[in-house]
């Protein structure tokens, strides 16, 4: 009976030991470095995009103030600014989208890829 108990506790101890043992494989030694490259990319993207959004907000705000200044003092009927905007709305939208897109490529995408290249060259 005593022997049986001893055997059992020995088995339990071995199972315990096995349960506490690390897995046979471990993370690669470069795991943290690879991870930090991804984090840097994430931070770069966030920073560039925020900067872009701020600049666009600033330009849009200035344009809105300018439009208010031009529209309100003039007479409501036959206001030349409103008439110009109404007649050329399509071309204005197309040009605005093109400018926005080009600016986005230049300020966000190209700078992002440039930074990414520098980081990968460093590592």
């Amino acid at each position: 009976m005593n022997t049986e108990r001893r055997k059992q506790s020995e088995i339990e101890a071995l199972i315990d030991e096995a349960l506490r043992a690390d897995p046979d494989f471990s993370l690669s030694s470069s795991f943290t470095d690879k991870l930090l490259i991804k984090v840097h990319r994430h931070l770069a993207w966030k920073e560039l995009f925020t900067e872009f959004a701020l600049k666009i907000g600033l330009v849009a705000g200035t344009l809105i103030i300018l439009a208010i200044c031009l529209i309100f003092p003039a007479p409501k009927e036959g206001n030349p600014v409103i008439l110009f905007l109404m007649n050329n709305i399509q071309i204005i939208v197309i040009i605005s989208v093109l400018i926005l897109f080009t600016y986005f490529i230049d300020q966000v995408l190209l700078r992002y890829f440039f930074r990414k290249k520098i980081v990968s060259q460093k590592t």
Partner: protein, 192 residues
Amino acid sequence: MDDSDLIAQVKDGNTNAFRFLVDKHKNLVWHLVFRLINQREDAEDLCQDIFIRVFKDIGKFRGESKLSTWIGTIAYNTCIDHLRKKSREKVYSTDKMRPVEFGKMSQETASAKVDKLYIKKVVHKVIEAMPVHYRIVITLYHLEEMSYKEIEEITGMPEGTVKSYLNRSRQILRERVMQLVPDIQPVLFDQD
């Protein structure tokens, strides 16, 4: 550096502090991922995804639990999502064990070459074949030495369920080890 200082610095975008955080908690994440998904190829990528999520969401950490528990919760949820996407196994099946595949090992047993290393392999194989929730509970309790309360916070299972899974998995392990290594008792006893 304590956890609150570390979190404050990571929130400020200090990547060196984040490196420190990763080095401190990568074993926990690795153990969880490795035991849960049972696949070495996907495991490292998943660990990276988990830490990226930790970095992005660190602003949401309110300090109500330990940092390790919070990271463990993210790791657990990410693994469960990964398993659901891959549909390799029914995530919520709780009692069905997959067959344990040993191949050559069974023949080794016949030659009575039973040592501690072999038993460790047997135990790990049995754990791999266990349902997901047994694996997570066993890993957190034995490998990470977490309390029932911490396991409850990570997995969302009530404490009673955690205890029950632990007992059941222990029982399964005992039975399967004895079954797969029938001559375990005499050999081990002789070693004394």
